[in-house]
Symmetry: C2
């Protein structure tokens, strides 16, 4: 079923995002080092660097002759972490407050443990306090809720994250609903999603992965207003909020999903494509309008006999083909993946600033 190379793929099949294994913050990426690429910041003519946000020009690697510029999420996420670290430090000095993120982990899943460890490390690296509760697999729902309530009441905690998936005997929705909206740094609370959808309303938090997608467009100076944007996938954690965010920025959005009959044709109309469907190499070169910008959220393991691990990670977009058509593209890994955790840190900082009215 898994498609390793674009060239060997059969007709692409369309699967919902839910097939992907992901954690509560929508983090889909393993931390792999990017292949060395030539830094070509001088070639970034078409991407206005947002000097206000980043004093260094952003790097754009060129994958091959006449090919798309690479949107470097690893680099941008590093910039954001540095910015968060500076703000955390400034806040601590000014008012003596350190932002805190609490993670609730239930059960013994190794992948979940790894995600939680990575979040803890990321918090440490920027000076955010991290709190962790690890409960056994057979815990009762009420016990989990009790700990969440404790974090809700704890003024040193500014963000609460429940590591998903929860054990099957638990009601995910009622546990997530226990998280106070003021500390919902994942941004998945329906009240936050409703505010995101409504003009004139402001969500307290925006879900991390779609926020990371839009942040990449912003940091690379890619204009969104009036552009046609196609979001592939309509999951609650990526596709749907990504579409709402693009609409807030005045894009004309279309949402392609598993029931869409002419996904290729619709995608080809897009100036901006956000692919978040969890299907390796589904978006082929022929799906892409020349000059389009591609944000690839998918992180799919595919067989790779050349790798010592036996697999490699590819996106939802056939990178080799897309590079020849698009004007800019995020790589997999090293594109959207590292942005999710950076946005989580940023949301935690925002929460602490809001509570303490710190500008």
């Amino acid at each position: 079923m898994v498609i390793g190379e674009c060239s060997t793929s059969t007709a692409p099949r369309f699967f919902p995002m839910s097939r992907l294994r992901k954690d509560a913050a929508g983090i889909l990426v393993r931390r792999l080092s990017l292949p060395r690429r030539s830094w070509a910041s001088s070639k970034v003519q078409s991407f206005r660097t947002l000097a206000v946000r980043a004093s260094n020009p952003l790097p754009a690697a060129v994958a091959s002759e006449a090919s798309a510029k690479v949107i470097d999420g690893k680099y941008v996420s590093k910039l954001i972490r540095d910015e968060v670290a500076a703000e955390v430090s400034r806040m601590k000095e000014a008012i003596g407050v350190v932002p805190g993120l609490a993670v609730v982990l239930v059960g013994e899943r190794k992948d979940s443990a790894t995600y939680v460890r990575n979040k803890k490390k990321a918090c440490e690296s920027v000076g955010i306090n991290s709190f962790e509760v690890h409960l056994p697999e057979d815990s009762k729902e009420e016990e989990v809720v009790k700990f969440i309530s404790g974090f809700n009441d704890d003024p040193s905690v500014h963000g609460i994250l429940v590591q998903l998936p929860l054990p099957s005997h638990m009601n995910e929705q009622s546990i997530l609903n226990a998280v106070s909206i003021e500390k919902d740094v994942d941004g998945f609370h329906p009240l936050n999603i409703g505010r995101l959808a409504m003009r004139g309303r402001e969500p307290l938090f925006v879900p991390c992965t779609p926020k990371g997608c839009i942040e990449l467009l912003h940091r690379y100076g890619i204009s969104i207003k009036g552009k046609r944007a196609v979001v592939i996938g309509r999951s609650n954690i990526v596709g749907m909020p990504a579409a709402l965010l693009l609409q807030r920025e005045d894009a004309t959005i279309s949402i392609v999903h598993s029931r869409t009959q002419n996904a290729e044709e619709i995608t080809r109309e897009a100036d901006i494509i956000i692919a978040a469907v969890g299907q390796p190499n589904m978006v082929r070169g022929s799906w892409i309008k020349p000059g389009a910008v591609i944000i690839d959220v998918g992180i799919n393991p595919v067989e790779d006999s050349k790798s010592s691990r036996g697999y490699k990670l590819v996106g939802d977009v056939c990178y080799e083909e897309a590079c020849k058509v698009a004007s800019a593209i995020t790589p997999v890994p090293g594109g959207v993946g590292p942005m999710t955790i950076a946005m989580l840190l940023s949301n935690t900082l925002t929460s602490a600033k809001r509570v303490h009215n710190f500008q």
Copy 2:
């Protein structure tokens, strides 16, 4: 500025829905009698009548030779009112409970007073109790909120509606937020909108006008799943929730708005068009794919020297041109307009049933 006839229109200009004057339930229509049309129920071959819901076949008038079938909102809304009346009566007999709708009116606007009167009449006609508070223009925000709180606590009230617009010295958002989510029959609370947007979540109420649009499609047996749907307009009360509803029914949606650069081209891709922008005759025949189904939410007054009132009401779609291209279309008036109030009654009944766990 106002365009009376499609044929005399200049290049269409695009204005946001907010230019329309509308009330809290998004009711844009005056109650005008429909011109007599020939009932041609035998010609409804392409529209499977939902016999489960309506025992009578639905009427479809044919406006002229080889033209679109008319989706008769006046008739469907009558069916729904009859269904609501039957359920209200059954509930009263079974458990002695009568649903109640409270309307809060502030100030002396004549149009608002008319809307409130119409809602009251509609309630009476189906056996729903109606409650009304009429406060003077110079009331304080706290006084309005006090009455809302009273209705929140009153078990005989199952729906609360604040008539908009409120006087300019009041904060609309904070007053609307005072309405308990369990009684938000308008469905405008961000928590309801968030649930509407999210897969696997259910809103307590769906906003009346977009719900009425989808209900018309259902009642006429028009399939939505897998269809391309274009929503023109992205207002909080119609366009945005209409798009979310269509997506819940597995349509592939695109949202066209004031910043869209090629609205005509995108609209022409649609199998289903919902126009809710408040611009008379904006959607011309050339915008419509042959065979498309059109739901026209706009109710725009345009000059009409032939009318004794000096004006007539037209939709956002040029009806004469659209009739020749579309397979089905809602007229203006008599299309979506009467559906809004029918959905308000239906939401109030739903609320009462939910509170009393009455199936």
